[in-house]
């Protein structure tokens, strides 16, 4: 059982929060995470979160789907068990397109979802610490991990001077 301590700055305004994130990061403090009741536009940029590389995964999964679908149909209907259907050639590309399209979409979507779950560690046993219940209602909570050498008083002043209405401490047991 390890436990970690967090300093929580509670805000009640979106714009104040965005400004405070910028100021806090400029002061050299590393922000653990920010909790808000809804997605805030532009928060990724101020938090310095890099763009997701998920689209690249989606592209290659889609490509796998396309190749698999084409290979499967060409091999099955053209070589493994050739059949004449509607007087068309064995390898009748236009007839293969709908299946190819479906498998491309399926593989891209599944590949993307599975990759996302694996990379972000979303599994059934995952326990998510709730820093402050009010962040699911009408408050925005900025969590900063309390490591050794961090001056609590200075952090408190920094958060309050940037518009935090409360500064709390929370211990999370994992």
């Amino acid at each position: 059982m390890t436990s970690k301590k967090y300093i929580l700055g509670v805000f009640d305004d979106e714009d104040v929060l965005l400004n405070a994130i910028e100021k806090t990061r400029a002061a050299g403090t590393k922000i653990y995470d920010v909790f808000s009741p809804y997605p805030i536009h532009g928060i990724d940029d101020v938090l310095g979160i890099q763009r997701s590389r998920l689209p690249i995964v989606a592209f290659f999964c889609g490509l796998c789907g396309t190749s698999f679908a084409l290979w499967m149909q060409i091999w099955m209907l053209g070589f493994d068990w050739p059949m004449i259907i509607g007087g068309k050639p064995h390898v009748a590309l236009p007839a293969f397109i709908p299946v190819t399209f479906e498998l491309t979409v399926l593989c891209a979507a599944f590949g993307m979802v599975i990759t996302f779950f694996v990379i972000s560690g979303l599994r059934p046993t995952l326990k998510v610490p709730v820093m402050d219940l009010r962040s699911t209602d009408d408050k925005y909570v900025m969590a900063i991990e309390l490591k050794e050498g961090i001056d609590i008083q200075k952090l408190n002043d920094l958060l309050r001077s940037n518009g935090a209405i409360e500064v709390n401490e929370k211990e999370v047991v994992k």
């Binding site: 536009h41 532009g42 763009r51 689209p55 592209f59 509607g86 007087g87 068309k88 236009p94 007839a95 397109i97 709908p98």
Partner: protein
Amino acid sequence: MITEERFSISKRSTNRFFFMIAIGLVLLVAGLIIAATSGGGHGEEHGAEAGHHAAGWGQRLLANLWMNNVYFTGIAVVGVLFIAIQYVAYAGWSVAIKRVPEAIGAYLPVGGIIMVLVFLLPIIFTGHNTLFHWTDHAVTDPTNDQYDPVIAGKSGYLNVIFYTIRMVAYFVLWFLFYKWLRRESLAEDLNGGLNHYNKSITLGAAFLVIFGVTSSMAAWDWVMSIDTHWFSTMFGWYVFASWWVSGLAAITLTIIFLKQMGYLKMVTSNHLHDLGKFLFGFSIFWTYIWFSQFMLYWYANIPEEAIYFIERLGGNNNHYTWIFFFNLLINFAFPFLVLMTRDAKRQMLMLKIVCIAILIGHWFDFYMMIMPGAMREEGGFGLIELGTALTFLGLFLWRYTSELTKANLVPLNHPFLDESVHHHV
């Protein structure tokens, strides 16, 4: 934050459009003279032995005028449609760019006049329009040996009088809604308030219903009836998809040009991103429609249906085969692969390249729809095609840009203006 932005176009630019029209006309006339002196005789001897009329220079001129006019009219009406959709969807993001699609409909009256003339003048002077086989009285007259029971069966819908009434009705309706939406928008600039906005929503909703019917019927009339025997229940969608995506490309291209000239300061890469998504998505939509139509005919392989694709793919001495594949390449593969990434949709350079490719590509798409039926294996690319396209482009740009200059580029009192300024994706 919000400033008065009025697009002004110098006398020189307007002159450039007239110059474009002039060059186009000169090329066209030169092409016609060359065609008439060299190719005319060839066409006549063909006509004598085959049952149908031969494609001479007159037919080529007619087909080109018709094709370019259908293409540019479509782009113009898509501007009105775009505005209507934005109103009905309560869209906020598009407010900063809405004056651009608002102005694009200015070509509609010109297109309407040209279309009525190109359709009616040959009928008045020669009795029938060679572009439309069904206008020939011989095919609907049971006593004539050229009687065609299939066409005669369609004559309740395809006859000159009803056709002309429909054509005029489409243009009048489209033009009225273009004018009304524009008038509300300009009145809003002066008066403010929500009245004009609410009225525009009603107008937009009505236009969507009307356009849903008229665009489909226009596609049957103007494009499908050239291949009179053939029909496709998807054709309305197909023509609409082609118009819509070229219209979007024209709107996006104008916005990029305006931005590079220093106008539309409120338009950011976020707005471009949305337009890019539109282009990307509807290029795929066009391909979906294209393929759905093609695959069913290919699979069923019923002669009277498959003939349409045979004429384009392998028939007519393989005359159109390269355009058939080029069409798919430039209108599907190219925008699909190039616009796939987020960055490409947010950059002006990439968007500009794709827009131009789509506009050229869908010009070829209309070429593909009209020329095989009108010209058989004699459809060409020469001075006539270039000249007509240039003339129409000049005409279109002249009407379009002069309408753009007539109003502030920022709809100052639009209720969603602020939302558009802060648009973020």
